[in-house]
């Protein structure tokens, strides 16, 4: 008896949910959420932006929790500021020299497990955020959706730094820290090659 009643209740709830569903809003442009995802996916699908941010998060994680916390707020804030500065500029730049240098420098620092001071790491985070944000901003153009996209992009940077730095901070095994440094060597090697492509291109 009890089973039959609970089955009836479940069917009623299912019917109520089915009948009360709202519009799907599958086309997010109409709801204002589109630009957020534009910014977010732009960052995640642009290795020239993603990898230097990843390298900085690895570096901060290797140095400890205080460095991770500093990078966590500094990098996205600087990135957002850089985008806002770049939005007013109408020309776009597609040079690969800048990202190549960031790959090389940050990858090299991760590889060397460089004992940077907190101030030096903060400076690096601010510079990285401002430069990359600025070049992101120049490609967006000044408009309301661009500003929302900038927020999405900064949020993606924040999430990346949170996840990566927190993961690396927790690593205690010697081999795990070595693996992170090997990852840094891959980033530096890619940067070196990018530098070659840039020089040859110019």
């Amino acid at each position: 008896m009890r089973t039959a009643r609970s089955a009836g209740t479940r069917a009623f709830v299912a019917l109520a949910v089915a009948l009360s569903c709202g519009p799907a809003r599958a086309h997010l442009n109409s709801t204002g959420m589109g630009p957020i995802y534009d910014g977010l996916t732009h960052f995640l699908m642009s290795p020239e932006d993603l990898v230097p941010a990843l390298a900085l998060a690895l570096l901060a994680g290797l140095r400890g929790a205080a460095y991770g916390r500093r990078a966590l707020f500094t990098l996205p804030a600087a990135w957002l500021l850089g985008i806002l500065c770049g939005l007013a500029v109408t020309t776009t730049s597609t040079t690969t020299l800048g990202p190549a240098i960031w790959f090389l420098v940050l990858g090299g620092l991760v590889l060397a497990d460089a004992k940077l001071s907190l101030r030096a790491m903060t400076t690096l985070a601010v510079l990285l955020g401002l430069v990359h944000g600025y070049f992101n901003g120049t490609g967006m153009g000044l408009s309301a959706p661009s500003i929302i996209a900038a927020l999405g992009l900064a949020a993606a940077v924040f999430v990346l730094v949170v996840l990566v730095a927190a993961l690396v901070v927790t690593l205690r095994a010697h081999w795990a820290r070595i693996a992170v440094r090997v990852g840094g060597s891959w980033i530096a090697a890619s940067g070196l090659l990018m530098l070659g492509w840039s020089i040859r291109g110019s």
């Binding site: 699908m45 290795p47 020239e48 990898v51 690969t96 990202p99 590889l111 070595i178 440094r181 090997v182 060597s185 891959w186 530096a188 090697a189 890619s190 070196l192 090659l193 990018m194 530098l195 070659g196 492509w197 020089i199 040859r200 291109g201």
Partner: protein, 200 residues
């Protein structure tokens, strides 16, 4: 009692995942994905490259720390320098010979279980990496992302080193040490074949 995932739940999850599938987005950025794939496949598609890179991992595993990670770090970095030389048009004579010789030398080092100082091992590995990098750097197909191509072949190189280290883990057992030395001999034999083919 051991809890097992009911088949019905597993099927429901599989069905939900299938229905939830997004568009593939395979052509979002022209040339980008193929750039990574081309770079990634470059070291893997050439047996001469592959033998030498796996041998670096085998030798590192045989030598133990710090060579275990110094050699696989040195190789991609110096390989990238070789790639830059290739990109800038700096000629290196006998690149194919150098690549084949790398398999011979590194395979022989594993076969004879050579234990030179870490600096010597690093210099030897780095020297041969220049030839591999020079070959990679000059062979990017036009129209593909240089960054993703570069990342692809650096990551593939790292994975081949990791494969060598993984195989080299058998070194802890006495039978494994013999197996490892036999593998080194096979790598060296492969190198001799490629050397002969380059000369032919």
């Amino acid at each position: 009692m051991k809890t097992r995932l009911p088949l019905r739940s597993a099927l429901a999850v599989a069905l939900m995942a299938t229905l939830w599938a997004q568009t593939a987005g395979a052509h979002l950025l022209k040339g980008e994905a193929s750039g990574f794939l081309t770079g990634f496949l470059h070291p893997i598609s050439g047996a001469d490259h592959m033998l030498a890179m796996i041998a670096v991992g085998l030798w590192g595993a045989q030598l133990g720390a710090p060579a275990l990670w110094v050699l696989p770090v040195a190789f991609p970095l110096v390989m990238a320098m070789g790639g830059v030389l290739g990109l800038l048009g700096v000629p290196i004579p006998g690149v194919e010979y150098g690549i084949a010789a790398s398999a011979v030398m590194l395979g022989a080092a594993v076969a004879f279980e050579l234990r030179p100082p870490i600096v010597v091992a690093g210099v030897l590995v780095g020297f041969f990496a220049i030839f591999h990098g020079h070959a990679h750097g000059t062979e990017r197909p036009p129209g593909q992302s240089a960054l993703l191509y570069s990342m692809g072949f650096v990551i593939a190189t790292g994975c081949l080193h990791a494969l060598g280290i993984g195989i080299g883990a058998v070194h802890r057992w006495s039978w494994g040490q013999k197996l490892l030395r036999a593998s080194g001999a096979m790598v060296a034999a492969g190198g001799v074949f490629f050397l002969w083919r380059a000369a032919a």
